[in-house]
Amino acid sequence: MRKRSIVTVDGNEAAASVAHRASEVIAIYPITPSSNMGELADEWSAAGRTNLWGTVPRVIEMQSEGGAAGAVHGALQAGALSTTFTASQGLLLMIPNMYKIAGELTPFCMHVAARTVATHALSIFGDHSDVMACRQIGFAMLASGSVQEAHDLAAIAHAATLRSRVPFLHFFDGFRTSHEVAKIEELSDDDLRTLIDPETIAAHRRRALTPDRPVLRGTAQNPDTFFQAREAGNRFYDACPRTVAEVMETFALLTGRLYHLFDYVGHPEAERVVVLMGSGAEAVHETVDFLAARGERVGVLKVRLFRPFSVADFAAALPPTVQRIAVLDRTKEPGAVGDPLYLDVVAALREARDAGRLQHLPRVVAGRYGLSSKEFTPGMVKAVFDTLAADEPRHRFTVGIVDDVTHTSLPFDPAFDVEAGDTVRAIFWGLGADGTVGANKNSIKIIGEETDHFAQGYFVYDSKKSGAVTVSHLRFGPRPIRSTYLLRRASFVGCHQFGLLDRFEILETAEPGGVFLLNAPYPPEQVWDRLPREVQQEVVEKRLRLYAIDAYRVAKETGMGGRINSIMQTCFFAISGVLPKDEAIARIKEAIEKTYGKKGREVVERNFAAIDATLANLHRIETPLQATATRTRPPLVSEAAPDFVKRVTAVMIAGKGDLLPVSAFPPDGTWPTATSKWEKRGIALEMPLWDAPICIQCNKCALVCPHAAIRAKLYAPEALLGAPEGFVAVDFKSRELPGLKYTLQVAPDDCTGCNLCVAVCPAKDKKEPRRKAINMEPRLPVLERERRSYDFFLSLPEFDRTSLPRDVKGTQFLEPLFEYSGACAGCGETPYLKLLSQLFGDRLLVANATGCSSIYGGNLPTTPWAVNREGRGPAWSNSLFEDNAEFGLGMRLALDSRADQARTLLRFLAPQLPTRLVDELLAEDQSNEKGIRDQRERVQALRGALGGLRGPEVARLDLLADDLVKKSVWIVGGDGWAYDIGFGGLDHVLSTRNDVNVLVLDTEVYSNTGGQQSKATPLGAAAKFAAAGKESGKKDLGMMPMSYGHVYVAHVAFGAKDSQTVQALLEAEAYPGPALVIAYSHCIAHGYDMAQGAEQQKLAAASGIWPLYRFDPRRAAKGEPPLQLDSPEPKASVRQYMRNETRFRMVEKQDPERFRHLLARAERQARQRFAVYRQLAGLTIPQVAVEDEEPALATTEK
């Protein structure tokens, strides 16, 4: 057998490594959890890595999965070997093309990190609902259950598709396999060449479309022929399973790893068998090994080739002794007789019996497990075997949840454990920003590659993007690891963030006598006393060995900033003894050298210094015989929280959402808003404090705050009664609104410490200009005082909305109805949403495209869209990524239709109602705040008047009366949606004359999925799929709808000119037709300190990179140029702008010469574009009067 490399990779890399080597054209579109496969392929091609035949595969990012599938289909037709990677919704978008590819019998292999399809909610996690939506297409479907299998079966699929001409969908479980890091044996190029028969490639080439031998494919066929032609390909499907089996045999000869179409594991005379596919089969395998070793007659049948389903192979693989079968599906088909694998198994058994392949028909029950990466553990597996052993086994059960509504769930023992005793298990709690996960991935690599041990790592991330908590689950040991579930006990628990001890049960998994390593910002002698009582108790009861290090101090002293990863990694190796200490340290250093050596000595040296300083600072902490602390963990949510929040949300916040029963949930995905205020994470180390005498009360800080954590209020002095000590109030400086008090207050538990507010504060102390009106100060010393102050601040009355001017300052006295989101610290998107919620929140419907804004806007446990004291607030929904403009348009049409009905009913009932009320309800102006308030009062009056009337119309009008008040529809999304996947829909919606508003939060990159280029990515920026710097310029999205003539368009950047942003949002909303606001949003994917975001926005405008303008069609009718330029002639250079951001600097660092050319082009384009705008801004549209023309939008009734 050949000697192969041992590598430590995740499932995505394992599959992509084969796919890249076996392909020539790769068209992709990013979607979690498959994005990394495409990214890796792109990185490899960018680095010149060749495929098996010596050429570098061409990797192209498309505008959607539909586009990727189209490109792949074309590439295949023209005779290339092609692949793609996708998941979930993306896979669904590929379906139409997949039918074509299959119908044309095209060798093609795609790799899917199987993910939940959005239903009542979106989920990025893993199950089979996406791939099961493809089972009818005609693709062969091959399932992998582990990282090694994802590698091996990828190779088998690529070889088999060429031989069989049946296209292959190779899939593995999203996250559980795609993101699990494991030690595997890597297939060599020679292995792949042996598997892939060159003659099959030649045959594929010969079938290619070429004018040298022209043929036609894609005809339209009619009733006379389609049917027969559709049956003409049958024999290819008949032959396919045999072909796959043959490739598997060849593969076994090569590698020693033998796969079958169906792999049976367990007791040779098993009576109870579980049938399933994917990673869950590994957990069953592990449990079966355990139970069978104890004499239980149990087994598992792992389905590898799900399509074409070979009845003969299936029947042959089952032990003849089998009496009862449980088929487990990781998907749900509501309303079906059963979930898909179950149906297939039932049919296959019956057919096999009829064909005489089975002696008897076993009893079959169906079960569902693991939706959206729900844990699937040996305890659950045992529960399935147990029910099979029952007199009357449960049918159509679920396992892994508590279903107290329809009572489908099997009870299981969470403590049931089958893991081998010699497996070392370690769990690490950290923050994203501290590098814990990266260090653990590296540790697995070191252990995997330096020892004979098998190694596995799995990482659980936060649903929040700021202050994100990570939990790393590591296993290593002498036996193959099949535990495809989280650690439930660990001999080593690392807590890299002291603050997490107050929020989570960190030691829950700690085994008695195990190690507890803690990063504590205290001297060793103080560590014990600082622990909460619950933690102390657990340390004592479990006799844990406690070690502590002040890693942040070590990091600071060695110039590592907040990166404590190599320090904590060194501690782990030093304490655990997995490797000899010196050897481990040498390996850590080697890894650092390898990762950063090419990127600069300084980074390497600082890491080395941190590692060298670690051991001297690591201390064993003596623990008393009992807990001594009086401090206990604070409650997770306030007592004041609503019942639902306390009952459901709090459990999720605690990380215990798995325990919630079905009855806790709404059946249709409807959730209450305004929950983020109950999740107090307190993630900031420093927070801004107000220095009132210096403040000029401009409210700019409040405007830019991404988390609505710094707020201004205006109130009568009497309201100060009962103010807590330390609450600061000053006279409001205003001639228009005299005699009022003003307070600027920070939410101490919601501030993320991003510094953006301090950076924009224009007021400086005249004696000491480094001090501003707000200054960052350590949070802990002022925490209690500021908590009291903030509570009091919130209790102050809101100022009358109708009397506040709609300028920057005035808007910040309006209550924000978007607060404390999970967006990144310093986010450049959320200030726009917060402003939107302040301006129109009480009448706002938001259609939100999938992306960052749908995640921080709608990811549980808590969400930021809030309600005011009247109970009004934004109603929000996320449909999909690609359809958001259409989704929002639908909302508008519904509102208009409801309002029409309400007006019709009002007119119908008018004779019975006060005439003036009816007239006003129908005719009054609602273009300003007062108009809205008056209309609401009229609706109130109408309801009163309706109270005395009877009849069906009365009831209908009562229901629809609120629709007489104007509603504001905003279609919100990022540039990936607006410029790429949703552009067609956006264009269509804008082309209609409906009153919708579109807000594009333009980060110039796919931020949520990790920085892939979009058509908004500027020239010269590095992004994934444009690693060397984007070659083409940014699409001028604003210019396009201007050509319609009836669309309001604005280009804004709050950091450059906040007043223009406010004005644009107001104008867009007021405009009685479609409006598009494109908003510059700085982003962590730009690579600089987000505190400088507003400053960088200024440079964007000043360099002409981001000109500010408003295009208002109404001006044209008045004989004025519709386009107004709001930023002056560029004064700064594009270079000045670009040099501040890593996304541009990266390009320069790779190839300075090329960057200079890109920069010059960017500079020219920016100037040219500005010059064009300047000319347009001087252009009036000649008004031509034509008889009988309907009035323009500007004058139509709203």
């Binding site: 979690t32 960018a46 994203g432 920003a433 590095a1022 799929f1025 690693a1027 962590i1084 660092k1149």
Partner: protein, 331 residues
């Protein structure tokens, strides 16, 4: 006209060259400088401090947000060849050497010895014909004495001379208590050339915004006399070659600098303002001036107005202030 000169051991057809600046970042500009007749190319300074800071900043900005959120394990592409710092400089040096036939003088800026020698050696290996050591730093630490600062510079020079085969010039600021004494020590340490003087980013106060502005203002001829004075005072006391930088904008300025003792004339502001071709214009102006005033070679005028050769050396020295004041009063 014979404009030949010798600077840092290099025989040059004339003394005009671009001074250390971002001009040479662009190969096209380098080519245009050669076309404009530059006698050598001086590269911009490799800033040790800047390199370190940028390496760390890039590391933090690209790594800080990674591995935090399930949908985005990292936010930037990860190119395998990523040049941060000196590699880029060396590559540019190599490209310039490959593009032009002129001597190339590399430049280093730093204040400590650490990490430096490696860069300097690499520059020599990459083909630098000479090295300009820019020792400017703001001596803001009260614990640093004048002697400490001078000693460090001497040490650096000594180390560089020991490590390198190519000539080394030192570019100084005018702010030394006793420049002639210090220069003497540098010569003892092996100095090959002196570049007078550095110009720096000097912060200006923005009184309305209570802020500091850091912008590099381009020089003007007004700054030349300071250089002339020290060229004239040092010319006859040193063996090393002298270059003027800062304040030469036209042929007449150049004539003065050479008369004061400059072997080489470096220009930056004038070229940034008027483009690379201005170098030729200044040279032509100088030639015209020399024809007009019956000079036949640069050698005739070099150092003719130095302290030793000028009509009244005391004008360069102590009485200077009084005389200037009086002359101003007369005007």
């Amino acid at each position: 006209m014979d404009l030949r000169t010798r600077y840092l051991g290099l025989d040059l057809p004339h003394p005009f060259m671009p001074g250390a600046s971002p001009l040479v970042d662009d190969l096209d500009t380098v080519k245009r400088l050669e076309d404009a007749g530059a006698s050598a190319i001086v590269m911009h300074s490799l800033f040790e401090e800047q390199i370190r800071r940028e390496q760390v900043a890039t590391f933090l900005h690209t790594e800080m947000h990674g591995e935090s959120y399930a949908e985005a394990l990292y936010y930037f592409p990860r190119p395998e060849s990523f040049r941060l710092g000196p590699e880029e400089y060396l590559a540019q040096l190599g490209r310039i050497k490959g593009t032009v036939r002129l001597p190339v003088i590399a430049s280093l800026n730093g204040t400590t010895l650490g990490g430096w020698l490696g860069y300097a050696r690499a520059m020599e290996q990459a083909g630098a014909d000479a090295l300009e050591l820019n020792v400017y730093a703001v001596p803001s630490a009260p614990e640093d004495s004048a002697a400490d600062i001078e000693n460090r510079t001497v040490e650096m020079l000594r180390a560089l001379k020991a490590a390198l085969g190519i000539p080394v010039a030192v570019k100084l600021s005018p702010f030394y208590t006793s420049l002639p004494h210090f220069v003497g020590r540098l010569e003892t340490a092996g100095l090959d050339g002196l570049v007078l003087f550095n110009r720096f980013y000097q912060p200006d106060i923005d009184p309305e915004n209570l802020d500091l502005n850091r912008e590099l203002r381009l020089s003007s001829s007004v700054e030349l006399p300071l250089r002339l004075q020290w060229l004239a005072l040092l010319k006859d006391r040193v063996r090393c070659s002298l270059a003027v930088t800062g304040g030469v904008h036209d042929g007449r300025d150049a004539v003065k600098a050479v008369m004061a003792g400059a072997d080489a004339v470096q220009m930056v502001s004038a070229l940034l303002r008027h483009g690379p071709s201005h170098l030729r214009r200044v040279r032509d102006e100088m030639i015209a001036w020399m024809y007009e005033h019956d000079y036949t070679s640069l050698a005739q005028m070099k150092g003719s107005m130095s302290r030793a050769s000028c009509p009244d050396p005391s004008v360069y020295e102590r009485a200077n202030y009084m005389l200037m004041l009086q002359s101003w009063e007369r005007a």
